[in-house]
């Protein structure tokens, strides 16, 4: 197909190069890495702090009673309940958040008000879902299943990279390998490239399959 286009001379060459460049550029935009300076995080509908929920450490944050807060230290799987059993890590439903936050947290907390409104605890516009913005996204042609990765890393702690606030045990102790120390992030951002090279390196290091169909659909 390229031959007749290239036969058009300079214009044809430019067209082919333009298409290739567009493909490469949009590829990077779709899965950016820090070196190009693209955003690795998004403002979310609710300013959800992983620090408060997942961290084990004292926080630079003042609670409703005026005291400095400690992190709750919730296990990652407390909210991402399907990560150990399924492909998708899962985000908790609004009703799940409201289990605690219908009573916990100040009544005038603006961020919690958004949540309580969505759960229909306050307001009169009925329940509504929350559309979070995806931070970690793999291309459509990649089939990634969380369950075997969590299982392998849980059984082989030596393969785990980084820590989640010092936790290196159990399912919650392995997430940092790909997601970094989320417990220390006020706003979640992507810290690993999650490019094919990283996947293949890790698979090779750990004796996992590296044939194409292991990941590509």
């Amino acid at each position: 197909m390229l031959v007749p286009v290239l036969a058009m001379g300079g214009l044809g060459v430019m067209a082919v190069m333009g298409v290739v460049a567009a493909f490469v550029i949009t590829g990077w935009i779709g899965q950016p890495v820090p070196v190009l300076g693209f955003e690795q995080t998004f403002d979310q509908p609710i300013d959800f702090p992983h620090t408060v929920h997942a961290s084990l450490l004292p926080l630079d944050r003042v609670a409703a009673d005026g005291q400095l807060m400690d992190g709750l230290g919730l296990d990652c799987t407390f909210c991402h309940r399907t990560v150990t059993t399924q492909g998708n890590a899962g985000v908790p439903p609004v009703g799940f958040c409201a289990t605690c936050h219908q009573v916990i947290g100040a009544a005038d907390n603006v961020q919690l008000s958004i949540l309580r409104d969505a759960a229909d605890i306050i307001g009169d516009d009925g329940p509504s879902p929350i559309n979070w913005k995806r931070v970690h996204r793999l291309p459509d042609h990649v089939r990634f299943v969380h369950e075997p990765h969590i299982r392998y890393l849980t059984q082989n702690p030596s393969a785990v990279k980084g820590t989640t606030d010092g936790v290196k045990e159990g399912a919650a102790g392995v997430c940092s390998t790909c997601h970094g120390n989320v417990a220390a992030m006020q706003q979640v951002e992507q810290v690993e490239s999650l490019k094919m090279g990283q996947c293949v390196d890790c698979h090779r290091d750990n004796g996992a399959p590296t044939d194409c169909v292991a990941c590509h659909q």
């Binding site: 214009l11 430019m14 067209a15 333009g18 298409v19 567009a22 493909f23 550029i25 949009t26 590829g27 935009i29 779709g30 998004f42 399907t82 059993t85 399924q86 492909g87 998708n88 899962g90 985000v91 908790p92 439903p93 609004v94 009703g95 799940f96 958040c97 969505a118 759960a119 229909d120 329940p127 509504s128 879902p129 929350i130 559309n131 979070w132 913005k133 995806r134 996204r137």
Partner: protein, 769 residues
């Protein structure tokens, strides 16, 4: 920078192309969204299925099923392996019932007809309830609740509701089982239908009942049949004028003249007695039960009467008496004659002769209901009672009729003029899932929940020989339509709606009734579920699909055959004009039964096991007789009785007795949704009002018809014969395709000839030369 016109246009084009490419390769906004739903019920966990145990009483005789639910949607129905009746097995009818839940023609909301000739208009449930109350306000003493035969709590609620208004609860079954219940009661002294220990029998002798296809729990019967044929292979003798699924599986198939099944049974008994094949004590007990004696049933007389050869009668008798344990039972068409009670009585009395009553491999009695006031047995009101009831309707003595679970307009013969009777009832309230023929005459139409969505109990009939209570629970919530524009149906349960309209003295909701009953069962301290509290017991029973207690059995007390009319009577065809007079043998569709599943396209397209036909109504006629009459497959036949006429497609085959035509039930709906409407013909409509002399039941196999070619032809939609039959042998090519030849050409030209060479046939014949 100077741009000439040509450069400007080129740059504009490139910019536009670039914009398109970038836009096309970019990420849609929606792909960057992860949604937190408001609630996450357990069913919504991605990729995980949940299996709920429940019952589907309207479509089975009490089988237990498991429904696979993913993300809140029911996906598949299987047999419940724990359930004592069907033990994990299923039939095609189970799967087809799934399509009632998602049927595109489901009634979405209540509808009202303001005048008898008006159109139905959508109304709210509040308006519907107000109209319902208005219909009940003048109905005291003039109310009839019409349902299918209901066991379990729904039957109890319907009866109590009718009683509250001093009205009647009448069940309708187009192929009523009253004759069978009467015969079992008379001969075996049982109030419930008994169970047949086919699994442990060495010989089974069945009459008329297609128990492997459509009679009783055919899934449960199939399990027993598997055991019957295992180890020491059991011998099956089946008597039925047409080759049903059961007849096809039989070692010895007897095809008697319709209505002579009782005489055939007594002919077999006489051979057994004369040849001294059973102990004298059993003979004495048998002769006490058959008050008329066996004097009229000599071998040659019975052979002449039944049309079954003396050799075959003798063979059946010897096998039945010598290879015990043996069991005999009958039903279906064998009881659907003017002498139906005699036929079935004689058949069931055979068990006395071979000592099969209450013994292993014989007939086992079933106990009554485990729950007080909840029926364990149900059958339709007799045709005689229905004729009397319809006369009341016509006379204006019935103010309100509530109909549920049965399509009486489709199921009743033309002779009773059901449409006209309904027009005389001021308030006709119909519940249903899909619009049926009866709803054309409804003033108020209420969308009813399917068994997937409603609470209930179902007591199997026949049971397994001990007490069983099957549970029915909602396995899905109200289902959202595919385009997410709203609910598929804003339906409510029949029981819940009646309870909401009642005085509240017999319950507030079906859920509370079911849970209350399970709590009472917990109090008995016995059975399959053992728990420390009533709530744990309830959960345990719901998880298993019910409760059963193998220690709660029953026994029989043999009585007498109620012999009223020994010889069958048939309707006349003499004044109908030209045509060949034949016996009409209606039979249940293997997938649609009597038509209750006709709105399911899976049921419509499931091929009939004998003819492989689907989506239509066909006429089984003996091949040789068809040749003699010049009838070939696909001829449109006109079938006339004194009650009306229908048209259906001829299907000649050897598996039916000459002089008999078999026509499947289930088609010929005026309504029934897009898959059933105006398809095929309704054989029930042309039945003649002949009745069983004892019970007044409709003798639905006693109609004689005239058969005539209508002069048109249509292809019978069937699988059989669409692919040419060919022998398959190791090393023999199925098809040899030459160079440049298509498979189709090769098949047409040569495959038989090549096969002949390999199989040692005539190798010289080659059509291609």
């Amino acid at each position: 920078m100077k741009l000439n016109r040509r450069e400007f246009l080129a740059l504009t084009g490139k910019t536009a192309a670039g914009a398109v490419i970038f836009a096309a390769c970019g990420l849609p906004e929606r792909e960057l969204i992860i949604q937190s739903p408001v609630d996450l019920p357990e069913d919504l966990v991605r990729g995980e299925d949940a299996w709920y145990a429940t019952s589907m009483g309207d479509f089975t005789n009490g089988d237990g099923v498991l429904v696979r639910v993913m993300q809140g949607r029911a996906k598949k129905i299987e047999g419940n392996p724990d359930h004592p009746v069907n033990r994990g097995k299923a039939t095609a009818r189970y799967d087809s019932a799934l399509q009632l839940l998602y049927n595109p023609d489901r009634i979405a909301e209540p509808m009202l007809r303001y005048s008898k000739n008006g159109n139905l208009v959508d109304i709210s449930w509040d308006q519907a309830e107000a109209r319902f109350k208005e219909a009940l306000s003048n109905a005291t003493g003039a109310l009839t609740v019409v349902t299918n035969p209901l066991r379990g709590h729904l039957g109890s609620v319907a009866s109590k509701f009718a009683a509250q208004y001093d009205g009647k609860h009448m069940a309708f079954d187009a192929t009523e089982q009253g004759v069978l219940h009467g015969a079992v009661k008379a001969v075996l002294g049982q109030d419930q239908l008994p169970t047949f220990d086919i699994a442990n029998a060495h010989t089974v002798l069945s009459f008329g009942a297609d128990w492997l296809g459509t009679w009783g729990s055919s899934a449960g019967n199939g399990v027993k049949y598997g055991e019957f044929r295992s180890d020491e292979r059991g011998y099956l003798i089946h008597a039925e004028p047409r080759m049903s699924v059961t007849a096809a599986a039989a070692d010895l198939w007897l095809a008697p003249i319709p209505g002579t099944e009782g005489a055939l049974a007594l002919g077999i008994a006489r051979v057994i007695v004369e040849e001294g094949l059973v102990p004298a004590s059993d003979v004495a007990e048998f002769e006490a039960a058959v008050s008329g004696g066996l004097g009229d049933y000599g071998l040659s007389a019975v052979a002449d009467l039944t049309g079954v050869s003396a050799d075959r009668i003798q063979k059946a008798a010897r096998q039945f008496a010598e290879h015990t344990p043996s069991v005999a039972f009958g039903g279906g068409s064998a009881g659907a004659h003017t002498n139906g009670s005699f036929n079935l009585g004689a058949i069931y009395a055979l068990n006395i002769l071979v000592g099969a009553v209450d013994s292993k491999g014989g007939v086992t009695a079933n106990p009554g209901s485990a729950i007080d006031g909840v029926p364990a047995s149900a059958t339709g009101a007799s045709f005689e009672d229905w004729e009397a009831e319809l006369a009341e309707w016509r006379a204006g003595n019935v103010e309100t009729v509530i109909i549920r679970g049965t399509d009486i307009v489709h199921g009743m013969p033309n002779s009773v003029a059901i449409r006209e009777a309904l027009e005389h009832v001021p308030n006709v309230i119909a519940f249903g899932v899909v619009h049926d023929d009866t709803m054309e005459y409804a003033d108020l139409l209420l969308p009813e929940q399917t068994f997937f969505e409603a609470w209930g109990t179902d007591i199997p009939e026949p049971g397994p020989g001990y007490q069983v209570v099957g549970t029915q629970q909602p396995v899905v919530g109200p289902t959202i339509s595919q385009d997410e524009s709203g609910l598929i149906s804003d339906a409510r349960g029949f029981g819940d709606t009646l309870l909401a309209m009642s005085d509240g003295s017999y319950g507030s909701s079906m859920e509370s009734l079911v849970k209350g009953a399970l709590s009472d069962l917990h109090g008995t301290g016995s059975g399959s579920v053992s728990a420390s509290s009533a709530s744990l017991f309830t959960n345990g029973a719901l998880q298993r699909g019910g409760w059963w207690d193998t220690s709660k059995g029953a026994s029989s007390s043999t009585g007498k055959v109620r012999v009223a009319q020994k010889n069958p009577g048939y309707s006349e065809t003499g004044e109908l004009g030209d045509g060949n007079s034949m016996f009409l043998m209606p039979f249940h569709s293997n997938s649609m039964y009597d038509g209750r599943l006709a709105s399911s396209p899976w049921a419509q397209q499931t091929p009939d096991p004998i003819s492989s036909a689907s989506w239509s109504t066909w006429v089984e006629i003996n091949s040789k007789e068809a040749d003699r009459l010049g009838i070939s497959e696909g001829d449109v036949l006109l079938i006339r009785s004194t009650s009306g006429e229908i048209e259906a497609l001829a299907y000649p085959h050897p598996g039916i007795r000459p002089g008999v035509i078999g026509i499947p039930m289930g088609q010929g709906h005026d309504q029934g949704g897009r898959y059933a409407k105006d398809r095929g013909a309704n054989v029930l409509s042309i039945l003649v009002d002949e009745k069983d002399s004892e019970t007044g039941a409709l003798a639905w196999a006693a109609t004689r018809v005239l058969v005539q070619r209508a002069g048109r032809r249509m292809k019978v939609p069937k699988f059989e014969g669409n692919v040419e039959a060919r022998p398959v042998e190791p090393g023999v090519p199925v098809l040899v395709v030459g160079v440049g030849e298509t498979a189709h050409d090769a098949q047409a030209a040569n495959h038989h000839e090549y096969q002949k060479q390999f199989l040692g046939g005539d190798s010289e014949a080659d059509d291609r030369e």
